[in-house]
Symmetry: C2
């Protein structure tokens, strides 16, 4: 048990979730390393959601609500940190959830499938018995996608995605939204909307935004999306990183 | 195999070493997360040894050479990344090596002991059959130290040390040198000499410095140590972190 008084309490709780997930066997070998990188960047922004991140979240939710077939892509890390929150967001914006693993193994897919089902989301895609297609005619696991999910999606939310995989998704012509604490990562740079935030803060916040934006005219959502400049917003995100004590 | 052309080649090699060590069973549960945090900071300094880090290394080596009983404290991460390099430095400055684990288990100690022995260093301390004392009368594993090693040391090099453990060592009145990529960490702030660098670059560089400083008068080494201001040097280290592309 971590004492609540510990100066790194919130961060240590997430660390425990990752250690637990690692023991349950559904993380990639280097998943904990990726988490550590995120920790460092989160520390540098003061572990708070910044204004540019909030702006990007409004645009992201608008884009998800405007899409015909939005999909939330989940991997081991996203599941370990925010399984319930992802399910809530998916329901709120009417998006599918697809298991999409850079290091795909049957075991990992099985465990993650069961987790979403146990947490109340039965129609998870990218499972072992799903129809799998290959993006951009790249016939390997890194380009695999569910036929009714990512393969035919117009907008994909990819929290914590690897750069190589993000590149394949981007090249397939889809609208890409990422949640990534590193504003300099290839995934952040490649995406159409890049939210520099911790997913445990961002995803519940996006669900709240969705409840608001669903009451707005479609034209408002379109304007939100059209007015957004991701490159400019990433620059502003970068400026939020404080190096002074 | 990682292709040498990969933009993150060096970093991925280290990641592979960590994954291998994890499978060999001698890392702490959250060791990979700590490695990831280091990766992020290394990325932000351009994965190069900075001038303030070099200055701190000269001071650190001078302090080690001036000490009566210098000890290099090693944990799982340091061993995974730089076992041979640590042995070379220890021989060069005539320091002991002691296994010093924040999450100490017999299994981890056994595997790490064997690694150093297999790599040619037979007199490793902190092993299962070593005489163990407790620093500051704190009777738990976090304060344990070898009687002839850290317990009686005057100067300790603690690469990649946890903040809680660093605090115990500092309070015991020892001269503390750390190698830590995060200049804002508690360990960095608490140490007498803080080297903001990747240990795979810093430790071989310190061995080279030792070969140079060993040919100098003792008064030169004393001057190096006395002229050094760690707080000021940490500030300069922090300024090396570049956030622009």
């Amino acid at each position: 048990m971590i004492p609540k008084s510990h100066p790194r309490y919130e961060s240590l709780l997430l660390r425990d979730k990752m250690v637990k997930a690692s023991k349950e066997g559904y993380l990639a070998d280097s998943a904990m390393i990726a988490h550590g990188r995120g920790e460092a960047f989160d520390y540098l922004i003061g572990e708070k959601t910044t204004y540019p991140a909030k702006r990007a979240m409004y645009v992201a939710v608008a884009a998800l609500l405007l899409s015909n077939n939005p999909v939330i892509s989940v991997n081991g890390n996203a599941t370990a940190l925010a399984c319930d929150e992802i399910i809530e967001l998916a329901k709120s914006v009417d998006a599918k959830i697809e298991i999409n693993l850079f290091y795909r193994t049957d075991d990992r897919v099985k465990i993650i499938t069961k987790l979403y089902e146990d947490h109340g989301f039965k129609d998870i895609l990218g499972t072992l018995d799903d129809d799998i297609e290959y993006l951009n005619d790249i016939k390997n696991n890194r380009a695999s996608a569910s036929k009714t999910g990512i393969y035919s999606a117009d907008t994909i939310l990819i929290p914590l995605e690897d750069g190589d995989r993000a590149e394949i998704l981007k090249k397939s012509g889809k609208n890409i939204i990422t949640i990534d604490l590193n504003p300099l990562s290839r995934t952040s740079k490649m995406s159409d909307v890049s939210i520099m935030d911790n997913i445990v803060r961002a995803i519940p916040f996006m669900t709240k935004i969705a409840e608001d934006l669903k009451t707005q005219e479609k034209s408002v959502l379109i304007e939100l999306v059209n007015d957004f400049d991701n490159e400019e917003n990433l620059k502003e995100s970068l400026e939020q990183i404080k190096l002074k004590e």
